[in-house]
Structure formats: structure tokens, C-alpha cells
Amino acid sequence: MRPFDYHRSENAGDAVKAAAGDGALFIAGGTNLLDLMKLDLMTPSRLVDINRIGLNDVTQTEEGGLSIGALVTNSDCAADARIRKDYEVLSRAILAGASGQLRNKATTGGNLCQRTRCYYFYDPDMACNKRKPGSGCSAIGGANRIHAILGASDECIATYPGDMAVAMSALDAEVVIEGEGGETRTIPVRDFHRLPGDRPDQDNILEPGELITHVTLPAPAKGRHIYRKVRDRASYAFALVSVAAIVEMDAGRIASASLAFGGLAHKPWHDPAIEDLLTGEAPSEALFDKAADILLADAKGQGQNDFKIPLARRTLKAVLREATGERS
């Protein structure tokens, strides 16, 4: 690990000031950042420790939703009684990820910023445009079983690895961000992560020194909440494909549907055309196939990950069957 200057902040204002300037990064749980720093894949010259700045509460909003502080741990978020009851998809997604130890450390803000698990991003001897812009992409034509089938570019086919953000995308949550001067801006989670394009080094829209302070959930969405994750092991593994779904039925028809997908792209994937198709319709295999057709219209396999295209179709259909079926 490279040497760095360590600064502990007691409040958000101090933190954004301390992080101004090149080479500074915030550290919260640190479970991803320290992992990457040990491999010299991230080399901050300064760490600003934000663990004691507050922002570790889940509070009610005036709009009837919840505001989750950036420092709320994954464990606390998943175990929050309000989230378990009204935002089940979020609890389920968090509990489907990582391990008990990691969830105790990992935070809401940090989890949004976690980096890809592309094998080549982690291997400093291999070309990777995300790690070293302009060096090339070893995953294209390489070992790419876990890689993207949607929204990839010629520069990068990495996926966003998380689960929490996929549920937040289905919930249409918003990210509140504070800048160096104390000004804040609010961005839909759906727009927080980027597609790789020609700048795969940029995972999300955060500017250097900007701090996530909260994630805001809208008022609870009615209907069934489902998070289904398909992976290589039964526990403690990243998603190959995941589907977050909130589906409300009314008199045998789909009254509303909100869907987001993990493991498929450089960001949690959200396609409003699928929701438009489903809304107002009676559930059927033909309808679910049409939904999958929309999702996968532009899907492109890279060889080893070709299986994700039929897997995504089947997972989506299974989730829609469950969401629209009789409750057991």
C-alpha cells in the first residue's frame, strides 16, 4: 500500500473541505477501497475518514419516504424495521450481497461507489481502460464470463457488481450529494452510475471531492417486492444476473411494475419501455416474453458470457411469474 495522509473529519462540511484537491478520497467502511489500495490499484495521497461525521440515521421524509444517511451500514439498512416492511426489495437485495462481516462495515454511500470485479481491473499486469485509460481492454476476447451484455463499449465491458443499487433503481431512489462549497445536488439513482462509453474510468457522475450524504426513498411502492439473484454460489458471491421487481396487481391485471437488473451492465439497468409494456396488461407467458424481448433487444454476448442472455430472460420471466401469481 502507498503512503497517504490520514484526516478524520467530525462533520460533512469539514470532510468536503479536507477532500478538496488532487488525490484525496473519502473512506467510510473501506471494504472495497482498502482492498484496492493493498493492490496499488487505487493510490490516494490522502484519506478523509468520514465515519464520525454523523449521517448514520434513517429518517422519515416529508414526502412519506425515507432518507438513508450515507454512513448507515448495509446491516443497519437491511435490518431497519421500516425498510423491511415497506421497501422489502431493498432489504432483500442488501442481504443477498457480501457477508455478515462486510455488511457490518459497508455503508450506503460507499456501496454505491463500489468498483467492478472485472478480473483485469484487479490485475495490474493486464490492459484495462478503467484502471489505466488508453491501455486497452483485456476482457474483450478474454475471460469474460461475468461481463456485460448490455450498454458495453469497445473500451470496457465491465459490470457494476452491487445489489443494493439495483433495488434502489427499482425504487427510483435519489442520491443527495454535497460539494466542496457545501452546495448540494440531487440525482436519481438511475442516473448516478454511467455507461462506460469512452470514459470507463468514470464509474459514476460524482465529481472529485463530492460527498454522498443521503439516499432518499420515495413513499413506499405498493405491490410485491422481489429481489432474485442468480450466482455461482448460494451465498457470498456477486450476481451473474439479478432482478429487482416491484409489481402491483389489480383485478388480475398489472397495475404498475418497476424493474431493475444487476449483473448485465456497467450500471443497474432500468428500461421504462418494459414497465410501459406490462402496465395494464393481464399476466401471460407471451407478455413476459415480450418484456424479455425489450430488455434484451440490444444484448450482445462476449463469448463466455453468452449464457447471460437466456439467463436474464428466464430470470425476468420467473420473477414476473412470481410477482403476478397467487400469493402462497
Binding site: 478524520r8 484519506l47 446491516s75 432483500r92 462481516q101 462486510l102
Partner: protein, 169 residues
Amino acid sequence: MKDTTLRINGEERKLSADTRTTLLDALRNHLGLTGSKKGCDHGQCGACTVMVNGRRINSCLTLACMHDGDEITTVEGLGQPGNLSPLQAAFVKHDGFQCGYCTPGQICSATAMLQEVKDNWPSNVSESLTGEAELTPEEISERMSGNLCRCAAYPNIVNAIREAAEASS
């Protein structure tokens, strides 16, 4: 260098170390507490699991200087030869190990995990998120998935945890 004060197993310990020092390295190399083990050093194996302020974490993935004033519990703080914690005794009884390298992490993890169940935290395999947490073998396996055992003593580990949980309830 950074001065840090930790409360470890009820005792105040002062540390002056490079900011890069992980909590695990501080415990093992600076403070002589070698019960916590270094396996992967990347948060994947769980051998380094300790409790910080009552919660289990991977001590390899956090910096010692971030824990100034925190209460740390290592396996040495849970029990000693002749005075084993209920979980330690259950691991011996059920032969919940072979080589023993992962065991301190398993014991620390399981100790905190049983408290999580008492606090009614759900898991990925919990049928309902609003019901009472139940400690079935499936639940134990899921909740302990952050602790790998290369000898694959898992069935005996699950039995040991189950017995300790039943004894304490």
C-alpha cells in the same frame, strides 16, 4: 505514524503505527494478539474476524487508526484455556475444525452472529423479513458464509453453533 488508543478485550492499549496498518496487523504484529488470523488479507475468508463495538468485521479490511476509542473483542477476549466460552466449548465437543486456522474467526463471527439473531436481524434465507429470526442449519450456513473453512468442517461447525445457540436461549 499515528497514535491510536484501542480498548481491546476490556483493556486500554496504545498504538503508534503507520497509518497503513490494518487493525489485523496492529493486533498481531504490534500488540501481540495472534489469535486473529491472516488468511486472504482481502476480506474473503473471514479468518481475521473480530468484533468492533459488538459487531463482527474483517479486521484485515480496516485501518487501526480509524478505530481510535473503539471497543475491540478478539478470540482471546472470549475465553481462555480452562475457561472456554460456550461457543468455544461447543466447537471442541463437536470437532468443529481440523487444522484450526479459521477457528478464531469462526468463533468471533458466530458469537456476534448469535447476537444478530437475538436482535432479530433477517438473512438472505429468511422466509419472512418481519417474522422472528430462527436459527435453522440453513440460516447458520447463510449467516456464516463469510467464514471459509478450507478443511470443510462445516457440518460440525454448524452443529457446534446450533448447540451453543440452544444452550443460550
